[in-house]
Symmetry: C2
Subunit: 342 residues, 2 copies
DNA sequence: CACAGTTTTGGAAGCGCTTCCAATCACTAC
DNA sequence: GTAGTGATTGGAAGCGCTTCCAAAACTGTG
C-alpha cells in the first residue's frame, strides 16, 4: 500500500505481466477468465486507478474534448443560451466518458494564447467551437490544423467544415408566417447582431415570409439589436415611431427588452403589438405576457454536436458532416392567438 | 518536415542534446545565449510545440484544473450567477496558463462516474468545487483525497477545507438595515433554498439586523424560494397576505419574480412595498423598478478562487486558506431611497 | 503421438517529455 | 602551470501506460 500504485504493482500482486494486467484493464480479449478475475480482484482490493495521463500518452488519445467560445460570445453568457448549450455538451461528454475542457476567450490575447494549445494534437482529441462573428478567422485556422472539429452554428465560407445548426431560416419563416396569418401587415424585426450567421439567417427567414405574402421589406421596420435585453429594448424604442403592428424578435432576451419598451410607451401586447420571439428559453415563460416563440432544442443541440465530433474523431473528417435541427413554433400569449394557424 | 516533430528532432537540428533543448523550452538556466538562440530559431522555423501530455507525464503536473458543479447546481445555470462565476474562473485559468476542465454533474450517476476521475491525481492538478446542498458528501470525499481543492462557498463541517465565500451575513445585514433605516417595520424575507449555506447565511444576516432593532423575526414573513424567478414569484404570493411593507429577497432572480407578484397584486414598488435584493447581476438593472441590491463581486470571486487553488497547489494545503469577500449595497429604485442611509 | 492451428502470455519497445547526475568546459587564483 | 570554481552540456533513467510480436500453452485432428 505504501508503494506507488501502478499497473506494474497490480500485475505483480496478481502474478501476471503488466501486459496482461493492461488487457484486463481495457477489457481486452485473450485473457483466461480466472486470470481476469484475479487481476480484477487485486484492482478492487487496492483501489487502483490508471493514470489518465500515462494512458493518454501511450494510446495517443486523451479522451478530452474542448469547447471553444470565441470572444464576444462570452458577453452573451448573460443569455441563457450558452449555459444551456454548455450543459448539453457537458452531459454528452459524461455519457461518452469524455472530459470537457472549456476555452472561453475574453480578448484577442486569449485567442493567441489558446490557438497553439488547442490546435496541437495531444491535449484535445477534438473541438466543438461556437461560431463567432463573421470575420473571425479562428475557425478557419482550426480547420487547417488536423484536430477534429465541429462547428456549432453555421460558419461562413467553410465548405469542408463539419457543422451543426438549427434551421434559423425556417424557424424565422414560421414565426413571421404565423404573424401574417393572424392578419398583421406592418411586421417589424429586431434582428440581433448582423455579424452573426444566426441573425442573418433569421432575418432571411423574415424576408422570405414577407415576400411570400407579397409584402415589401420595409427597412424602417427592421432594427439591429445586440441579442440582449437592453439590445431589444433600444431596438424597440427606435421601431415604435414607425408603428409596427407586430414584431419578430430574434431572441427571447431581446423580446424581454422589446416588451419593456412597448409597455413604457403605454401600449399592450398582444393587443396593440403582437410579438413572436426565438429561442424558447426561460425568459419566454417569465415574460408577461408569455412569449409565443420558436423553440430551438438547445440541449439536444449540444448533445448532437458532441456526438458528431466523436464520429469525426472515430471515422475521420470525410465526408463533411452537416446537421440541421428543426425548430418548432410554441404558441403562448404574446401574439393573441392560442391556436396555431399553420 | 515529414518526420514527427518531437523535441528530439528539434535538438538534432539545433545540434544539441534533448536535455539542452528541454532547458531552452522551459526557460531553464545554464544555457549559453548563443545556444539558446539557435534552439529557439529551430523551434520557430519548424513551428514545434511540445506535446502537453508528455510534459504532464514527465513533470507530474498537468496544468489543468477542474471546476466541479454538483448536481442541482446545474439547474441554477439559468441564474446568471454560475455563468459569471465560470467566466471569472476561466479568465484566471487563462491568465495563469492553466486549462479548465468542466465537470457538471447532472445526476447522481455522474457523481459516481466523476469521482474516480477527478480524485485520481494525474489528470487534474487541483479542483474548484462549488458547494452544493447541505448533506452532499462529494466535498468531504474530495477533501480526503490528496487533490488540492478549493471550495467556492462555505462548506458545512469542514474545518480543514480551503474555501472562499462572500460575506453573506454582513451583506444581508446591510440590506435589511437599509430597509430599517428607511422606516420599514414589517420586513419580509424570501430566502432561497435553506439547504444551501448561502441561503442560511443571508437569512442569518436578516435576523441579526432585525434583532439589532429590537424587532422579532416573524415566521409568517419569511418564505423559502428556489433561487429562481418562479421561486421568488411563488414565495412573494405567499407573503403578500401578511402585508409586508418591505422585502429582502436573497437573489436578483427571485426579486424579479417577487416584483411580478407584487405588480399582479396591484401594488407598486417601492411605494407599497420596498424591495432590496442580493447579487447585482444583470436582472437587477433590467427589472423595473431597478433593484437596490447587495453587489457581490462574482467575477473577482472566481478569479480569487483560482488563485487560492494555485497557491494550495504550490505551497501545500496547510494552513487552510479562508477568503471572505466583501459585498456592497447598491442603491437603485426599488427601495424609494436614492441615497444610502448607512 | 505428432502436427497445425488457436489462445493466452509476457518481453520489450515505445509514447514525448523532464530531470538527476556525472562529465566537460572555461576561467580565475595561486 | 595547476588546482579549484562554477557555468554548461548530454547520457540515461524515468513518468505509467499501450501494443507489437514472438514465445508458450493449449486445442483438436489424423
Amino acid at each position: 500500500m505504501t508503494d506507488k500504485l501502478t499497473l506494474d504493482e497490480v500485475a505483480k500482486r496478481a502474478g501476471v505481466s503488466r501486459t496482461t494486467a493492461s488487457r484486463v484493464l481495457n477489457d481486452g480479449p485473450n485473457v483466461r477468465p480466472e486470470v481476469r478475475e484475479r487481476v480484477l480482484r487485486v484492482i478492487a482490493e487496492t483501489g487502483y486507478r490508471p493514470h489518465p495521463v500515462a494512458q493518454s500518452l501511450a494510446s495517443q488519445q486523451s479522451h478530452v474534448i474542448g469547447l471553444v467560445l470565441p470572444r464576444r460570445t462570452e458577453a452573451l453568457f448573460n443569455d441563457p443560451y450558452f449555459p444551456r448549450l454548455t450543459q448539453g455538451i457537458a452531459q454528452a461528454c459524461n455519457d461518452h466518458d469524455y472530459t470537457l475542457a472549456l476555452f472561453m476567450m475574453q480578448c484577442e490575447a486569449d485567442e493567441q494564447k489558446f490557438y497553439p494549445r488547442i490546435s496541437r494534437k495531444g491535449l484535445l482529441d477534438g473541438i466543438v467551437i461556437q461560431v463567432g462573428q463573421i470575420g473571425d478567422d479562428l475557425i478557419a485556422r482550426l480547420l487547417e490544423s488536423d484536430v477534429p472539429t465541429v462547428v456549432a452554428g453555421r460558419p461562413l465560407n467553410q465548405p469542408n467544415a463539419n457543422y451543426i445548426d438549427v434551421d434559423n431560416i425556417a424557424g424565422a419563416h414560421t414565426a413571421v408566417t404565423h404573424l401574417l396569418h393572424l392578419g398583421h401587415k406592418r411586421i417589424g424585426a429586431i434582428t440581433g447582431e448582423m455579424r452573426t450567421t444566426a441573425a442573418l439567417d433569421r432575418y432571411a427567414g423574415y424576408c422570405k415570409a414577407l415576400q411570400e405574402h407579397d409584402l415589401p421589406v420595409d427597412e424602417t421596420l427592421v432594427c439591429e439589436g445586440y441579442f440582449t435585453e437592453i439590445g431589444g429594448y433600444e431596438a424597440m424604442r427606435r421601431l415604435l415611431p414607425h408603428k409596427p403592428d407586430a414584431i419578430f424578435s430574434a431572441s427571447d432576451a431581446m423580446s424581454l427588452g422589446a416588451l419593456r419598451a412597448i409597455h413604457e410607451a403605454g401600449l399592450t401586447v398582444p393587443h396593440d403589438i403582437a410579438v413572436v420571439s426565438f429561442d424558447d428559453l426561460p425568459p419566454a415563460t417569465i415574460a408577461r405576457p408569455q412569449l409565443t416563440t420558436i423553440h430551438q432544442p438547445v440541449h439536444a443541440f449540444g448533445v448532437k454536436a458532441v456526438e458528431m465530433l466523436l464520429d469525426v474523431i472515430k471515422n475521420g473528417p470525410t465526408p463533411p458532416r452537416r446537421v440541421i435541427m428543426e425548430t418548432e413554433l410554441v404558441i403562448r400569449e404574446s401574439c393573441g392567438s392560442t391556436q396555431s394557424k399553420t
